[in-house]
Point group: C2
Chain length 316, copies 2
Amino acid sequence: MFREKIKVLDCTIRDGGLMNNHDFDPRFVREVYKALSEAGIDYMEIGYKNSKRLFNPKEFGKWKFCEDQDIKKVIEGIDSRTKISVMVDVDRVDIDDILPKQNSPVDMIRVAAYVKDVDKAIFLANHFADKGYETAVNIMAISRALDNELSECLQQLEKECKAGIINIVDSFGSLYQETTEFLIKKAKSILKTKEVGMHAHNNQQLAFANTIEAIIHEANYVDTTIFGLGRAAGNCPTELMLGFLKNPKYDIRPILDVISKEFIPLQKKIEWGYFIPYAITGILDEHPRAAIALRESDKKENYREFYESLVGEVGE
Amino acid sequence: MFREKIKVLDCTIRDGGLMNNHDFDPRFVREVYKALSEAGIDYMEIGYKNSKRLFNPKEFGKWKFCEDQDIKKVIEGIDSRTKISVMVDVDRVDIDDILPKQNSPVDMIRVAAYVKDVDKAIFLANHFADKGYETAVNIMAISRALDNELSECLQQLEKECKAGIINIVDSFGSLYQETTEFLIKKAKSILKTKEVGMHAHNNQQLAFANTIEAIIHEANYVDTTIFGLGRAAGNCPTELMLGFLKNPKYDIRPILDVISKEFIPLQKKIEWGYFIPYAITGILDEHPRAAIALRESDKKENYREFYESLVGEVGE
């Protein structure tokens, strides 16, 4: 009943870090790693590799930089087959910070880029591949990509990039299933030698559905987060994905435990999930930053005014 | 871009009533009716027509009985093209309580029934159709229906029932898109002279997705609720559906307003939405009653034990 090729990459700490300046306590990160390991999850994405010359370490938590020594402290002594992934953003990483694979606890490096930055993404992915890492490119804001530019981007990735996986990223949570189907089929038709993955946001409660849709159309890599933790509306919940996939190597129970023990208390400190301003930015195919700002203001439940402020900005 | 035939039935008060013994303040119900009317929603389902000889009116709110006089008080003086729907359950309604259509504020009566009760459902729907009402049959717990029995049920509805609409009800929130597609296609293939509708539950965050899936496969009636209010995990959110449908007759803004003003405060009194015990019953295709009981107990965050209690009950 299951498709063995499907791999789950849990990016709870990486995407969730966008809601708390990547400032998760190492104890919490270790509990997440333990739960993912026991659950049989294939990859854990633990944060970003950002340059400390571009971002002040005093203003951010450890997981914006993911020093190898910090990763080692989190994972040491835990029996696990879960690989470690980190993300890098174009123009924010210092490639000299990245040691050769054999000297690092990191297994995979994913390069996040907009369509327009595909050349930079290819350079980075190839550089990290040459250092021995598994690599992936995540194409962000896919809902804003023009079809001809996306075609060229995918063709270039197929021809010039050593990354084994290309992920479609619905940054704004604006895709419906039919567009997800269109995009995954398109990616599969061009990326003959690579795997395709899906990273969905939950603004319209469609992250899980769009990830299933991607699986139906042969995506084999899926991004999930525990209890949906992630930027704004969050992501496709790991626990729901494990309920859907029938691969006997996965066990939902450690995920249920860590939600009870760690994520229910966390809800008192960080807000994520289905809130109307995030639904509005999803419906309107907008970045959630205005909605996140609204939720931090005293107008946080003033939905109509927020909606009007976004749809009012029209003009030829 | 839009399909004119699609009608939205908002059942906020009816399905939400399952979480508070149908005890909504008439002022609240009137605000909901006003918002739905301004938003251009086609139907509002306001509650159940239950027999007062079977249920003690002192133990339940007005919307378990939906006396015509109570409905009239809620809707009078409001300019509206939104029709009023009520639901009846097999074996719980006294048909003599239902006046002829011309003497009632009700436009539509929907009969909720399991596959096994199709004969009773047909009797009731035909009786109400003869009294002048629009009628529908909602086939509950569709995820538990055996295929041959469902076929027979649908064939009988097509041949013997005067109801114009047959709704597929995912009572447990356990359907994925592929099964939704299968069921809607099956219903459409047998119900040649009727419309097909979808009523989804959100246990696995798939209520909106499965309703879109039903629309893709030619369902023209969709059930929604404001802010997803409904039993346990709730339903397909009205606001998301209006963002999806492109019919210019709908306006999302009155829905955003009523969420701000009425539903955010309501969240302090009633719990609904995505909670792990509801996700678990959805994944396991179980009625949510055990999960609802858990949420009312002091073990409400003890997810693993709850999961084990459900999967432990196996045996040939």
